[in-house]
Subunit: 367 residues, 2 copies
Amino acid sequence: MTAKRVGVIGSGQLGRMMALAGTPLDIEFVFYDEATESPSARLGETIQPSTSNSLESFLASVDVVTYESENTDADLVARINKSKPVYPGENSLRRSQHRLVEKNTFRDLGIKTANFLRVTTKDELIKATKELGLPIVLKTTTMGYDGKGQAVVKTDSDIDSAWEALKGNELIAEAFVNFSRELSIIAVRDIQGNTRTYPLAENDHSDGILRVSQVPVTGLSQAKQKEAESYITTLLDHLGHVGVITLELFDTDSGLIANEMAPRVHNSGHWTIEGTASSQFENHVRAICGMPLGSTQARQSNAAMINIIGKHGDREKVLSIPNAFLHTYSKTERKNRKIGHINLIADSKDEIENAITELTEFINECG
Amino acid sequence: MTAKRVGVIGSGQLGRMMALAGTPLDIEFVFYDEATESPSARLGETIQPSTSNSLESFLASVDVVTYESENTDADLVARINKSKPVYPGENSLRRSQHRLVEKNTFRDLGIKTANFLRVTTKDELIKATKELGLPIVLKTTTMGYDGKGQAVVKTDSDIDSAWEALKGNELIAEAFVNFSRELSIIAVRDIQGNTRTYPLAENDHSDGILRVSQVPVTGLSQAKQKEAESYITTLLDHLGHVGVITLELFDTDSGLIANEMAPRVHNSGHWTIEGTASSQFENHVRAICGMPLGSTQARQSNAAMINIIGKHGDREKVLSIPNAFLHTYSKTERKNRKIGHINLIADSKDEIENAITELTEFINECG
């Protein structure tokens, strides 16, 4: 049985790109979000939670529900799941929302992580600095992203300030990982349990925001490629996950170290729109609607994604590059806001590098 | 100056695919059509001509207007053009709507056509059979498509019945063309007069309906490729055309013979969605909105398009072929109705042929 109407909690660019991928497959989209002038707005009806009987109306208008964010209310998801299937399921969502549960899941599955300890008192923090060795990163176990809800303890003298900044929350102390670069792997699992993995991407961040992703990862050993695929497939099966999942990884001399997972399509996978036969958006829709999964193989040897952040920049320039693909989100300019991205697809690394050079302003200036 | 809001006269699959291509470029679409449950319906507002002040509302909500069909009311286009630009312009539209004007345009530009004569009396018809030589095809100069408004005169004994069937209309008599296959070329011209041409497609029709298009055309000489490109570029410039245009051609021993033109995106160009960097839909939107044209080069060596006609068929099978791309139009099943298409993109002719074989039911049974 194939679902035909997808309800999306949220109406941002991820919902927009799901709808653009799903519409040619005869899937209709309804969005559940307070914002109405949003990136998804022109691709389906938006039902505002604040209106009367909104949840009933939303659920009556869809066959299956998904969401855009790992910060989606898990209780709402549990409630919805009593009347309509929600993918990815509550289990994937709750484990993604709690750093300690997430790390324990990784550890239980043999997925390497940084050493970590639970911290709820200052004594436990001091003990963690000794057991894990300095420096450590102290994080709240829930919420917090892009550097918020975090403190770095480099020396004993940082302990007091870190504790003052974060006390009152359940915390996780993580040993510092000496990594050479940040990678991610994206995979998808359908209702029957079939899985497909996308090629790994190398991700460049600056000021806590993803700037550029590139595929393939230069000089990645076959062993590490297999390690990443094994990690994410194990994770998908263990969670009983349906839909797309993303695993962020650190590349180190002693192998890949899992950083965190996201139970959703991911910014580092936007290159798949033109880079593969079935993009992460299309495969997410296929999976949650009960359709067969599509090919996750790269259509050409090299790809890159450049985020458009803060300002739209020189669109004419982007449109004039033959192998550049512009994806705007119909969002207004605002500092540090992701308002679009540019995909570059080519048959050589050189072509990609040349295009990135031409588009340097998008990486350095647009923010 | 870049237009941001496109008004489309019509709301069928061509408008749908324009909107799917234009949305990532931050273009918004409004449709002007009586039908509201149409293929474009979920991709923008539909304004119904029968409602009060509909044309004013439509024009107030858009920056530029285009249309889906060569049967669009040219007087309406002329009227609209007084307040908003309409692309392609009235000149392209009117010449496409009148077979005699169209053929004279071809002849004036040195574009080879079948020999033809205007016929308004039975005496002129008899004269035409002698001057052109039998067989001839007798057609109404306006309207009529897919074999309607046509009669073939094979022998003198067919003259009476052909005349009875079509008399009262202005007619054109065309010499029969002995062609080996039907081809088409699609090109685009922007407001500044820059042009780009897509690779030629070979088109298989049956019962007057396009079934399969394939690219590249097997064994096409460089001379014929150049001839086609020269024809369509000459035509674009002569018409002052803005947007996409299609020229249907017969392949014969003595060169390419122009059959007819369409001032629009074309079914034989649907393969460009995944087959080129900028599809015919994207380039049409780019051209009419004043954006730079995108690349029309094939991304991989081989492509094909199979129309889904009458019945949806086995979608699971389509979705299971790694290099097949399903494009539905959200239309209900009806005999001989185009309700979707399948694009196949590959690195060899063999791969394409194998996929076509797997999908034979779509060519032979779905109708």
